[in-house]
Amino acid sequence: MAEVRSASRHSWRAWRQTRPFWGGLLLVLAGIELIGIPLSGVLGHGAVRLVIYIGIGGVFGVLIGALLVACGVAVWVNAGHRQFYGIAGVLLGILSFPASNLGGFFIGMLLAIVGGSIAFAWAPAEPAEQPSVSVPGQPGHDGPGPLPGDLADAGPERSGLTDLGLADTDPGDVGPGETGPRDAGPADGFPPAGTAVSWGRGQRMLAVAAMPLVLLAVALGAPGARAAAAAPAGPSGTCILGILCLPSPSPSSSPSPSPSPGQSTGPSSTGPAAPTSSSGTTPPTGRSKGKRSARRRASAGSGLVAATATSVIKAGSATLDDLAYQGAASVRVGHGGTVRMMKFTASSVTLAGGVTASVTQGGTGGEPGATTVTTSPSLAFSGSVVLYATQLSGCLGPLCVTLTPGNAVAVLLRLASGVTGELTLTLTHVVTDQPLVTARALQAGALRISFG
């Protein structure tokens, strides 16, 4: 039993030692990390929609990650071309910073640079290259393994990079992903090789290991310190080894697209909200309130397609300026076909007294869908407001009515007899079903959207 395990462990060790194993492993880990961040949500349930969303941005991350995994595997199976794959890994790691979530939030980028460098610099052992190796198989070193910190005692194999590459980046700057391979190394039962390496190599190793860190610290720490001195931008206490604290230099160079003020890009300018595009038989504004004819037909805005999800807007009060009923309109819906809705126009509509908009959708097979609840103390629509609804109820003083496309004209006539001439109408306890609103502007108070 012990023999079998020892033999398999031995062949595993032999496989590992005849190729830049750790360099390849770091490249593979870097690739997995870069893929994981954009795709972890997709891999969970295979939601294709996410892939579509991620689009070109996520594709870069996934592509770079996949290439890094390929480089790592290629380094293992084709160690002869390790220089090519190593350099490719380093370049991909650098590229991942702008292209993929800041290099997988630095972790993937550092893994790829270190792994690629190690793979590049690995070389098969040649006897002439190991002048400091003394007698192999010194029995005195067999037992408990190398003393902690005694780098000189490590054999050439393990001084390879098992410890270097990882000890190199280990001091915390790389992150949790790093601890795996580092621990795997020594715990893996590297038998003490029993060869002696001069202190010179150990020191050189430490020097090489420290260099990238020093360079990075110099590159980032100095401007960071300057920025910290100039402005009280983030406390340095939250920095990790001076690396993940980035300077906030003068903001002059940033190209920030200024938000264009225009409503010109808005959908309303091209169609539905324009007041003149409404019914030809009815003046778009005024106090007509359906007095001219008992039946009235309005045309819906040409490009407008109404949602069919169950939606209700409730408000304590609604103030409508220059309200006009344009008649019943047939509005197209997303699945095809049309739905009959009342069409109102107004110069402004202000909903107040606790506005709640509930939308229920997404239910399948009779199950209730998710309900999105939007709340705000007030919603003020202004500028060519057009409101479509399948049902509208509210109270005008003591008189509460419910309007539908079928009875709107009659009810409004009844209402109008009491409020003739009024330009501004204030309803209370307003409930609007299937609302479809367009307006030039909407000013909302404290807005909150969540799932109820």
């Binding site: 060790r13 030692q17 954009p38 972890s40 949500g41 349930h45 969303y53 689009g55 070109i56 941005g57 996520g58 380093v90 800041l102 640079i113 690629g116 190690i118 590049f120 610099a121 690995w122 098969p124 052992a125 390879g160 992150g175 949790p176 038998p191 003490p192 050189r204 990075l216 939250t238 993940l244 604290c245 300077p247 903001p251 160079s253 940033s254 200024s258 938000p259 264009s260 225009g262 409503q263 890009t265 959908p267 309303s268 407008l304 109404a306 949602a307 069919t308 999800a309 819906v333 997404g362 998710a370 999105t372 629509f381 609103v437 367009t438 909302a444 807005l447 909150r448 959207i449 969540s450």
Partner: protein
Amino acid sequence: MSAARHRTLGPPAGGRVRWKLLAAVMLPAVAIAAILIGLTAQGAIAANVSVSGQQFLVTATQLNGTGFEQFGSDVSAGSSGTQPVIVSGIGSATLDDLCQAVKAGPLTMRLTAGSSGTPVSASNLIVDASSLAGSSATFHGITIGQDASTLTATPGTAGSAGGFGEQAGTITIDNLVQHTWLTTAGTFTLPGLHLSFGGSCP
């Protein structure tokens, strides 16, 4: 089991790393990476961000956007099945004092940017949020109740037919607080980028 026996069984040679070669590759690479990081922190280079699969917090003192649309949908939320989300797409957005807190295992990673006077800017920003709040909001050229499949403000992003959607030409939200499941953007410029562990967004 002794090391001596292993050596007799094994191939005669292992491999080793040549330190000078390692340094020759790694030092320039680290230097280039440091330059890229510095340029990104100045906002000179746009980064590409797309995060999904867990809920995280995004706050900003002000969001300005052109080409806004919003509709309901759902995302997979790992073992707990699907999570309904509000999908917001903004063609071009600027965010002041952006803060994004992502849980990475036991750690919370906090990314802040745009607090030095120059806002963060993003193109084709798409956010799937489970909740969204703002102290006030202003929309121009708005349509509410439009079929989600006919939204056009952010090209390539639309909901399913029958869904409830809205879109607007421009949008301003003050004191935005979102719990999001997915964030993706074509490009992000992150002036004043600062990444730290621990803490959360205000």
